[in-house]
Amino acid sequence: MSLITVENLSVKYGTNFVLKKINLEINSGEIVTIVGPNGSGKTSLLKAIIGAVQPAEGNIDLKSKLKIGYIPQRLNFDKTLPITVERFMRLTEKVDKNTYMSALKTAGVPETSKSQMSSLSGGQFQRVLLARALLGSPEILILDEATQGLDQPGSAAFYRQIEQVRQNTACAVLMISHDLHVVMSASDRVICLNGHVCCEGTPSAVVSAPEYQELFGAGTEGALALYRHDHDHVHEHVNPSE
């Protein structure tokens, strides 16, 4: 069953189109990952789906009363806003202690409940965000680059957690990711975005698609290129495609 149907969606900021004529569908229970270079409109697409930006054209149809569990990239606060994990869990949903404790267990961080949000490690923090998103028994989890700031093993572990949650709750997952190796292992479907949908399909089909290779380079080099993408320093290496 389709949870989210995007038809002919265009989004523009000022006169610049960041997304043009996007069509896609997310079905219940599937894990879909959106990949694309910086500025390809990945975040804008998620924002349009949750209603944070208005489409310039096209339609976004959500299944009626669709329960979305949204996991933001980060929260806009540091140490200025004191808040315990417990209080944060009760912020968006009126739940009792048993409910939020079991959500924290599902996300793998029951021991943090009394801690300050600002004192958590990156991995714990993302798991608390995941636990909060699980509280409303969502039909779909939406993650905006949820593993930014985690190291490779950290983000791999986090995505395994997501997969496990999907197995236990059968909710769909829509996420943006830079980590191609994770995309390969955890997704049912990959959508490659660059202002428009370049290609989509199973992870292996997308990686071998010419449109994808043009964006990210070919073969294993592609995964590396994507990974290096985020580095702020340059390694000395010879790239055969240059």
Binding site: L46, K47, I50, G51, A52, I68, Y70, P72, R74, L75, N76, F77, K79, T80, L81, P82, I83, T84, R87, L91, T92, Q116, I142, D144
Partner: protein, 258 residues
Amino acid sequence: MTRATLAGIGVALTSAPLGCFVVWRRMAYFGEATAHAAMLGVAISLALQVSIFGGALLVALIMSAVVTQLSGRNYATDTLLGVFAHSALAVGLVIVSLLSGVRLDLMAYLFGDILAVSREDLTIIWGGVALIFALIAWRWTPLLITTLNEELAYAKGLNPRREQLILTLSLAITIAISIKVVGILLIAAMLIIPAAAARNFAKTPEAMVVITAIIGVCSAIAGLRGAYIFDTPAGPSIVCVTLVFFIALSFAKMLAKK
């Protein structure tokens, strides 16, 4: 003296929730600049001989609306605030000086004149307290969610722009009712210092607001008492006490950590 104390307590109470949001949302400069702009409102009110509450409220609102609309286009918010708010302050001061026939004590508006608070002023101040408490209590959870993450708020079906508007409106009201008590130049201090002091020992947002309110009210009472004893200006005296709280609590926190 009773009226002054009641006025001080009222301002301390309204400043508590607003001050916390100002600290959380990093709106300190926004608060300060909007307060300075209120001088234009005071000047216009004096020229037209209407209540300064109304004038100050209106100018503070217009200022924040203009800045919110224009920010992010060609200038950053703080640049726009610097341009508009401080020109409003300057224009206000010039207008006041041109008003002949009115004997004005400019100091009273810049630094407050809490001892001259009338019964009518007191009604307005406590009306403002009630209104702001009602507004913030009603929107408390949505305001917190919006402060943490706007997209999260959208995903929960909230409208962050509306929440921002409620906050801006409350801030304008707080500024308008604080002018008589601490004066235009020190309103931001009443917003920021008690909240910053409270941060040291608060574990939840709610606790931070309560501690901020307690610090604010104690400062108002102690500051007025001190002003009476040492014959110092009331507004600055109150702010000095908040600073003592800030320093004491920051030290206590450092010691508690060791």
